[in-house]
């Protein structure tokens, strides 16, 4: 469910900080640096980066396809290898049994079990294929506002971090209180800060 979907979810951010001079060249260079890199052919657990909003396999952005009028339009792609907890548990128990039998010992220490768990997890990760998730964003450069097409707070954290890393600018989610401050003058902002919940009963 993204920018062009029939039905979509999104949250609003304010982009804080000054845009660098020669912004579009700056953006092209920094987006290329933080572009998504595929992990299908290696054993990396996770990859996060930018792709084109209408093609998750396009991380080259030919013709600066992210620049559309006064907007910067991108997608955040997160690929991850995951092991289901039940699968991990099963193979850990299997490995523990095998080691106990080999060494003829009744039980394993906590340290041994932690070590087994990590080794099994890495072995299973290598066998699993990465799943991909893509989340669109559009940044209104003139207004310093940004729509991000996900309401998942964990994904918001990934976005905020990659955005800072790429553009050197902070994203601040526009919850009602912060959205209100943009709509009010200084005196009203003080009144708002002092406002307490009211009851309708």
């Amino acid at each position: 469910m993204g920018l062009l979907s029939t039905s979509t979810h999104f949250v609003r951010y304010a982009v804080e900080g000054e845009l660098p001079a020669d912004f579009w060249n700056f953006a092209a260079e920094h987006i290329a640096h933080a572009a998504f890199r595929d992990i299908d052919d290696n054993y990396e657990e996770r990859s996060v980066g930018w792709v084109s909003v209408d093609n998750m396999f396009d991380s080259a952005f030919a013709g600066a396809s992210f620049a559309i009028a006064d907007y910067l339009v991108l997608a955040l792609r997160i690929d991850e290898r995951k092991v289901a907890p039940s699968v991990l548990k099963k193979f850990c128990l299997k490995e523990e049994e095998k080691i106990k039998k080999e060494h003829e010992i009744p039980r394993l220490s906590r340290r041994q079990r932690v070590e087994i768990k990590e080794n099994v997890r890495l072995a299973l990760l290598k066998k699993s294929l990465p799943t991909a998730a893509v989340y669109d964003l559009c940044w209104n450069l003139a207004q310093g506002s940004l729509f991000f097409f996900s309401t998942n707070t964990k994904v918001h954290e990934v976005l905020e971090s990659l955005f800072k890393e790429t553009f050197g600018l902070h994203l601040v989610m526009q919850i009602p209180f912060l959205a209100a401050t943009h709509l009010l003058n200084e005196m009203e902002q003080q009144q708002l800060a002092d406002l307490r919940p009211d009851i309708f009963i």
Partner: protein, 175 residues
Amino acid sequence: MDLVDLITEKRFLGQEFLTWLWFKSEERGGAIALPHGDIQVVFEQHMLLEYGEGDAHQQVICQGQQSELKEAKTGLTTGKKLEQARIRLARDEHEWRLSLTGGLMEYRNVRPPKTMAAGEDSDEAAREGRILDRIGLLEIMVRTGDELFRLFLNIRLSTAWDAEKDRIRGWITGR
């Protein structure tokens, strides 16, 4: 105050806005006056109310025909807060359907109007046209939301709030 504290402490602001907007939309049969003219705001058949905090936090879904939204109003009389509402918004020739949350002001299940630009053309100009068209429609929707929010804040921060609150109480209790 950091964002997490702000979200918790000021959560009421968006929830009060949603409740006020529901009242305002029913006051004139869905029409709300904005500076440029009337728009339509209709609360549809799905609402989420919440009550309690921390471990005692609970949510209640009210859905069904208009008459069944009485259940949601009854919830308000028992101190529950309106956290999410399904809204039909019409402005000029466009109509959007969306769910708006109170606590974080998230836009969920947004269905923007269908437009001429939603074709299958693959050339660059058509692609940019489709994207700009969609962004434009979402920005009009958000701007309209901001205008409504500003209208609410004007009243909420003024001495007119007490009288408005009495009208909201009357509307909730049906008096």
